[in-house]
């Protein structure tokens, strides 16, 4: 970080925002210097999103001042923020899929900006080369991968020559290689004097790239630190207070006999932007966690859908549970045989948003709580409150609507509900995505406990750290291919990262060719 001058780029003074029933930001003060990469850390619901939305003019604070380049400003709308030179890359991308890259970027620019730039496509190509973003202005956004879309969003900010770039969990969707590419871009920007506000859950990234960090908890600033003087563990401790023991060393186990088997599973994609599954083979043993790494959109959703039975195509000979073919059974029949699922999408797939938690419990536990066709509400209610208490789900009670819970709390509830079935096989996608450190810990422990009771667990995740933490054996998917499965101790992050990028594909197809020959 170069000190360009002594005037801070952005200063937040006592920002306070009260939502009904929740003080989202409580007297938050933060200072960012030009060229500083500043991490904003905190559990889910700590107030990070509210704070950055305040800076970007989406949320109006109740109290407090924003000082920009030494002058007090009132950022009433995103367009004012952009005029000042504030750019934001959202966690859920805000691109228009039916428009081209160039049109998407054009929409964000004012007429004067456009006139100044002249040929927008040429400018995009030039910036793309300058920063190594590899963005083609004439492509339609719907044809781009997640990583490419993120680069389009960053490009959108670069075109406007931002002085402050806000990134909301930018790395959660990227491969390790893409992450290092992104960090390269961020470092260049920082050297040119652009300040960066970086929200992340991944602490090692924060220690790697950020100059300063502010830690929020319950809407308040609880600590600030210089990340490269800290360890991920010490920062995690600041984030959650004294609760967390961020211990990487969960004991690895060897599974016993085969519980679930996938054999020669090939399946063309059903969705227009889906991935075809290509000859997938693996076995899942009782008492083990098999982790499958991969960047989103490489066949995980399709694999999950066909295993769960949500994809109703008949794959009779490819899936077996306890040596029984199940590929032709529908989802309910598979559940009865002892399979349980935690899908990635919590609202809508894992739980019905408008139904209460009690009703959502009933949906997958119908057998135990329905007698002679009548629902036993009393016992299902008691069961649900026990679940809420056991997994410390924060909600207003067992009749809260599923959609009223925060992502992390709903995930704890769904995990608890599925684990409560005592499944033989649990298929679990992205169990801690967007979940805070405390809840993630609870979910991890629940998974390990279930494994130790002898269940077979398939864990699909984009969080490579989590996979190394939990999985006994690991593999990666890329473009619908599954890599070899290896014991976690016998591999490392580089190998898995390369597999996620598909380096195994040529080798394995060679092997099959050899086998055929």
């Amino acid at each position: 970080m170069k000190k360009h001058n002594l005037v801070s780029r952005l200063e937040l003074v006592n920002i306070t925002k009260q939502y009904p029933g929740c003080l989202a930001n409580d007297n938050i003060s933060i200072t960012l210097m030009p060229g500083e990469i500043h991490a904003l850390l905190g559990e889910n619901g700590a107030g990070k999103s509210t704070l950055v939305k305040t800076i970007y003019g989406v949320v109006a604070p109740d109290k407090g001042d924003i000082i920009w380049d030494g002058k007090e400003v009132n950022i009433k709308s995103p367009s004012i923020a952009r005029d000042l030179g504030i750019g934001m890359v959202f966690q859920h991308f805000s691109l228009f899929e039916t428009l081209t890259v160039s049109q998407n970027i054009e929409l964000c620019l004012s007429k004067t900006q456009l006139n100044k730039i002249g040929d927008l496509a040429a400018r995009i190509t030039q910036l793309s080369e300058e920063y190594g973003l590899n963005v083609n202005p004439s492509r339609y956004v719907h044809s781009l991968s997640i990583g490419e879309r993120q680069r389009v969003e960053i490009m959108r900010c670069l075109v406007q020559s931002v002085k402050l770039l806000i990134l909301d969990e930018p790395t959660s969707v990227l491969t390790p290689q893409e992450v290092s590419g992104l960090f390269g871009v961020l470092r260049t920007l920082s050297e040119e004097g652009c300040s960066i506000l970086f929200i992340s859950h991944k602490l090692h990234e924060v220690t790697e790239i950020c100059h300063k960090a502010t830690i929020l908890r319950g809407g308040k600033v609880v600590d600030t630190c210089v990340p490269n003087e800290e360890t991920p563990a010490s920062i995690a401790k600041m984030m959650v207070g004294d609760l967390a023991e961020q211990d990487a060393g969960y004991a690895k186990k060897e599974g016993t006999e085969r519980a679930f088997n996938v054999e020669n599973l090939s399946l063309p994609a059903k969705q227009p932007f889906g991935t075809s599954l290509k000859n997938i083979n693996f076995e899942l043993k009782s008492g083990e966690i098999l982790g499958i790494a991969g960047v989103a959109g490489n066949g995980q959703d399709e694999l999950m859908a066909i295993i769960s039975g949500e994809d109703e195509r008949n794959v009779k000979n490819s899936l077996s549970l306890d040596s029984l073919d199940i590929g032709h059974l529908h989802a309910g029949e598979r559940r009865k045989l002892g399979m349980a699922y935690v899908p990635e999408e919590r609202l809508g797939r894992g739980a019905v948003p408008d139904m209460s938690l009690t009703e959502n419990t009933l949906l997958t536990h119908s057998d135990g709580f329905v007698k002679n066709g009548l629902v036993e509400w009393q016992s299902i209610k008691e069961y649900t409150s026990a679940l809420i208490a056991k997994y410390k789900v924060k909600c207003h009670g067992e009749f809260s609507e599923a959609k009223s819970l925060s992502g992390g709390n709903l995930q704890k509830f769904i995990m608890g509900r599925e684990i409560g079935q005592n499944p033989k096989v649990l298929i679990c996608a992205h169990p801690t995505w967007g979940v805070d450190v405390g809840a993630a810990l609870a979910i991890h422990q629940a998974l390990l406990e279930l494994r130790d009771q002898g269940a077979a667990i398939l864990l699909i995740s984009e969080d490579i750290d989590e996979l190394f933490l939990l999985a006994d054996r690991m593999a990666a998917v890329c473009d619908g291919h599954l890599s070899p499965v290896v014991r976690t101790e016998a591999t490392n992050i580089d190998q898995i990262g390369q597999w996620m990028a598909g380096t195994f594909i040529n080798n394995s197809s060679l092997h099959t060719q050899e086998a055929k020959a």
């Binding site: 709308s77 934001m88 959202f90 228009f96 054009e106 929409l107």
Partner: protein, 310 residues
């Protein structure tokens, strides 16, 4: 069938298609912004009756059209306030608007039922109307038909070539993202809905001042609904709406044609044609998920509340 008859049929198809063209152009802009207004029929009827009353009172068909545009705009504003400002359900509100417009137009027009006025007269465009075949079909109409041509081309340009069109598509596809980049979503939607109202008003005026220069209760006879089907039929493309409007126009005069050929098919069966065509198009579109995704405005019918960020 001789060529004179063909020319006459096509001439009539353009004439019959014109009110459909006006109202569908309005609706497509409205839908591109993400708002589904099922009140077309009501707005059109109100435009027809108010346009007729104004022309009857002042003797000027031009003032009649102006009054109809204003009325359509007022009707759409009622809809816009309910749906955009107060977040009412778009489908229910649109249906209510149609029922409201049908009733109110019958009420305020009851005194002039059966009266006739001097509507717009055809103006043959010099030179162009002398082109054999085409000239008679396209360039021997009245001023409103010509303005519908102009309007179609103007909208094709605005939607496909300008930033206004880009903004409109952005709002209809992802209002939250549009809001985040500083587009005033509600303002865009208000304007789009009001444009739809103005066009419905003109369309109504065309019915009561040109097509059949008189006012009869419920005289639009479901054209507002056909227009909704037409927008889907045209898969939200402005250019195709023009084509579709004339095709639908042709379909609705088909019974005359067939009679001329000596076939007797119930006109009621033929009146189904536009709807059958729409269903077929919808099936074709949705068979290809990829196309479906790219054609329909993604946020169509979904209310946008700026206070709830996705």
């Amino acid at each position: 069938m001789d060529s004179d008859l063909i020319v006459q049929i096509l001439f009539a198809a353009v004439k019959t298609g014109t009110p459909l063209l006006f109202i569908a152009l309005g609706e497509v802009i409205c839908e591109k912004s993400g708002v589904l207004n099922l009140g077309q029929e009501g707005m059109m009827l109100m435009g027809a009756v108010v346009g007729f009353l104004a022309a009857y009172g002042t003797g000027s068909a031009g003032l009649g059209v102006l009054a109809a545009m204003l009325m359509g705009c007022v009707m759409s504003l009622i809809f816009a306030v309910l749906v955009l400002h107060l977040g009412a359900n778009q489908v229910a509100t649109g249906l209510a608007l149609t029922i409201f417009g049908t009733g109110l137009s019958a009420f305020i027009g009851s005194g002039v039922v059966g009266q006739t006025i001097q509507g717009f007269q055809p103006i043959a465009i010099p030179l162009l109307s002398d082109i054999p075949f085409i000239g008679k079909i396209l360039f021997s109409h009245d001023i409103l038909v010509y303005s519908s041509f102009a309007m179609t081309f103007a909208l094709m340009f605005v939607v496909n070539k300008t930033r206004i069109g880009l903004t409109l598509k952005a709002v209809g596809e992802n209002p939250h993202a549009a809001n985040a980049i500083g587009i005033k979503v509600l303002r865009v939607r208000y304007l789009a809905v009001m444009f739809g109202g103005v066009m419905a008003g003109i369309s109504g005026a065309y019915m009561s001042l040109v097509y059949t220069p008189m006012w009869v209760e419920n005289m639009t006879a479901g054209r507002g609904w056909i227009a909704l089907a037409l927008v889907v039929f045209a898969s939200w493309r402005v250019g195709r709406i023009m084509l579709g409007a004339y095709l639908f126009g042709l379909a609705s005069i088909m019974h005359l044609v067939l009679q001329g050929l000596g076939w007797s098919i119930s006109p009621n069966l033929l009146a189904m044609l536009p709807y059958v065509a729409t269903v077929v198009v919808m099936v074709i579109i949705s068979a290809d998920k990829f196309k479906e995704k790219l054609l329909a405005p993604r946020a169509l019918g979904k209310p946008f509340d700026p206070r709830q960020m996705a």
